[in-house]
């Protein structure tokens, strides 16, 4: 009985979702092996070797793994599984984890379990369904449990106390079926949305992308990340990676300030576990006020600049 944690990384940096996956693996309770695959992962491997609780570290480095295409990464994970016969395979519930792990599960002929929020026993897991409107507890009977874990439900493991030495894993990578072309990543000096302690989010009430400038100013005062509702992304005000909600990012910061957001259930699914929720909206009947700890019924174009100035 042992667990494989699949590391995720970009620009030679380990993604925090991986550390949440390590915490989940610790809760499962078996020995933990971590695997990192990529075109260049020496730096990430060095970081991973420091993570406490990881007893083995596999490194699959190959130029063909650039962009981490699922058709190429899945065979690497399957090769590791063939060698060590893991009982659990775990990754963060990120775009990467969600792309690769179901592919691995299908090859093993088992049902993956997505986006878990709790572990009750090595075979019993908790997850949300219907956009967080119901909580399901389930028992997985398959021999191998393939899980993606929600970052907000598992504290990131400490990057200290570990001493696993990187061991190379060589796998023949099939390069035929797909090709990685490139990424256009949004650049920002502000904290990253999924790990920020404070988040300021805007909705349709902002009326335009230019008006998000008001939120950026407030965010700078609060050292906050900036998010958006689906309505604001669909309207083209801001880019998709800023979307908070059922199908966007699921976050749980200490402080969440919802500005001009009505509070559709799909949005609430992405932020209702925040510790303190503030809502600023001119419509007193907006559903966002039902989850807000502090609600201010006001014109955001007056209230937000005033708040920025007074903080």
């Amino acid at each position: 009985q042992s667990t494989l944690v699949v590391a995720e990384h970009a620009d030679s940096k380990l993604n925090a979702a991986t550390l949440s996956a390590v915490t989940a693996a610790k809760q499962v309770g078996h020995e933990i092996t971590c695997i990192v695959a990529g075109a260049d992962c020496k730096q990430v491997a060095a970081e991973l070797s420091k993570v406490g609780g990881v007893s083995k570290l596999l490194v699959a480095e190959d130029a063909a793994l650039e962009g981490l295409l699922p058709e190429r990464v899945a065979p690497v994970l399957l090769a590791a599984h063939k060698q060590f016969n893991f009982s659990h395979i775990i990754a963060g519930a990120t775009a990467f984890g969600k792309s690769v792990l179901p592919r691995v599960a299908a090859k093993l002929d088992v049902s993956p379990i997505s986006d878990i929020t709790g572990i009750q026993a090595p075979d019993t897991f908790v997850r949300t369904i219907y956009a967080g409107n119901a909580i399901q507890t389930l028992k997985a009977k398959d021999a191998v449990k393939v899980l993606t874990v929600r970052g907000t439900s598992f504290e990131p493991a400490e990057v200290s106390g570990g001493s696993a030495a990187p061991e190379p894993l060589t796998v023949e990578v099939d390069k035929n079926s797909s090709e990685y072309i490139g990424q256009e990543l949004s650049k920002s000096d502000r904290p990253e949305l999924t790990s920020a302690s404070n988040v300021v989010s805007g909705g349709r009430g902002l009326k335009s992308g230019d008006n998000f400038e008001l939120l950026y100013k407030l965010a700078d005062k609060l050292n906050a990340a900036v998010g958006a509702s689906r309505a604001a992304v669909d309207a083209g005000f801001v880019s998709n990676d800023m979307q908070v909600g059922q199908t966007g990012k699921i976050i749980a910061p200490d402080l969440y300030v919802a500005v001009g957001i009505s509070g559709a259930i799909q949005h609430l699914a992405g932020m209702k576990d925040s510790k303190t929720i503030v809502a600023i909206n001119k419509d007193a009947e907006a559903p966002i006020f039902q989850v807000a700890d502090l609600g201010l019924v006001a014109d955001l174009f007056k209230a937000v600049p005033e708040m920025t100035e007074k903080l």
């Binding site: 028992k139 669909d234 990676d241 929720i277 006020f289």
Partner: protein, 252 residues
Amino acid sequence: MRILVGVKRVIDYAVKVRVRPDKKGVVTDGVKHSMNPFDEIAVEEAIRLKEKKIAKEVVALSIGPTQAQETLRTALAMGADSAIHVEVPAGELERVQPLHVSRIISKLATEGKFDLVMVGKQAIDDDCNQTAQMTAAMLDWPQATFASKVEKDGDYLKVTREIDGGLETIKVGVPAVISADLRLNEPRYATLPNIMKAKKKPIKKMKASELGVDLTPTIEVISVEDPPVRAAGIKVDDVDTLIAKLKEAGRV
């Protein structure tokens, strides 16, 4: 190119779901259902590929009880050419997992010599986000999940994907599996003449057993419960009070 597009009948997105008294699922009887919104986007994209002459034929597939045919009629009214209904009785439906669905889709894709399978990135009932990836694995085809743009590029499809940090572009060879994300397109409404025409389009009925797919569940649902309710908050009158309360709570 022939496209097989999967459509799931789910509780309508605007319905507030209620947990059943037996705590094993949610109330579905007498509740409005419609096509999973992400699948609607997949159907729309498949039809657009046909309109651009990239695809020749679009076949819609649904797995579910008799009412799944209503969902298929919607896909046919949007412009799909024909449909396949894999019948699963309502009582058994809850136990069907994406693993089973993927097996059915991959069998049909092979038998029907399809070149492209399209589905929504997730269903809004179980929120699993697995079917496209698993179908691709079973078929040994490449996958392009969370697509926000699909273009033809020689023998390949160039797909823009929504990822956590922004957008990613990949090329996949055909045959392939694509899953649709929110911003791929805006699905059309079926017009009355097209709804009438859809009634005459063929729906082929079959059972999972005829495809050799065993629907024995590997997951047991122990309980389904309401989420914890957040304690009611307060309304403040002005920005000064808001900031004072936030300071009190140690948040600013």
